[in-house]
């Protein structure tokens, strides 16, 4: 069965303190791995799609990377406005099913 595990569950950083969020997954065949940002009480906002191991995508202070078993979301010099829950999802190539992780709740203190 496809599984997606995100760690840590919560992360508190000082402004400017870089770190990484992890998304480990098990899937028979990966069609794509997706990162979303979700603010409290709102719907997830799409950030990145990664399709194959070794691929990287960047957007402002965020960079997503992918291996055959996990993905990292690197946050460089975060700001308080980066505070949110970050969700990871994998899509199974066999049936296009999408499975989401529980998310990492990031808090950046000024």
């Amino acid at each position: 069965e496809d599984q997606v595990t995100q760690s840590p569950e919560a992360l508190r950083l000082q402004e400017g303190e870089s770190s990484s969020l992890n998304c480990s997954y098990t899937v028979s065949g990966l069609r794509g791995l997706f990162w979303y940002r979700q603010d409290p009480g709102k719907g997830p906002e799409f950030l990145f799609t990664l399709y194959s191991a070794g691929e990287e995508k960047e957007k402002e202070r965020l960079k997503a990377t992918l291996t055959k078993k996990e993905s990292f979301l690197h946050i460089t010099a975060p700001k308080p406005e980066d505070s949110a829950t970050y969700l990871c999802a994998v899509q199974d190539a066999r049936n296009n099913d999408m499975r989401f992780g529980a998310g990492t709740r990031l808090t950046v203190k000024p």
């Binding site: 979303y36 009480g41 719907g43 997830p44 906002e45 799409f46 799609t49 969700l87 999408m98 529980a102």
Partner: protein, 110 residues
């Protein structure tokens, strides 16, 4: 550009009352549409998806049903709400395997 509308934003309903949540998409034709439920600290759970008018697939047995009366309209319903139906409900549409979410509806069943 495409937009997705979901309403209401919050809803408080007594146990045993009916439910109707509506989602509409603008700016695209024949989208794949989805209903998810998100429990606190857990990943998004897919409830229903639809690839066309009148075509509904259910992922989990439950007290809910879905309908797609028009190409860009997706409705989530229940005849009698249970306490366990409380949660954050999200509608989404997809293009090129990327899912885009509405703002969500916070449902509290009391």
């Amino acid at each position: 550009s495409q937009t997705i509308h979901q309403w209401p934003a919050t809803l408080v309903q007594p146990v045993g009352s009916p439910l109707s949540l509506e989602c509409t998409v603008e700016g695209t034709s024949n989208p794949n549409l989805y209903w998810y439920r998100q429990a606190a600290g857990r990943g998004l759970q897919l409830l229903f998806y639809s690839v066309g008018i009148g075509q509904i697939s259910s992922e989990v047995p439950q007290n809910l049903s879905a309908s797609r009366p028009q190409d860009r309209q997706f409705i989530l319903s229940s005849k009698k709400l249970l306490l366990s139906d409380s949660g954050f409900y999200l509608c989404a549409w997809s293009v090129a395997n990327i899912q885009y979410f509405g703002a969500g509806t916070r449902l509290s069943v009391l």
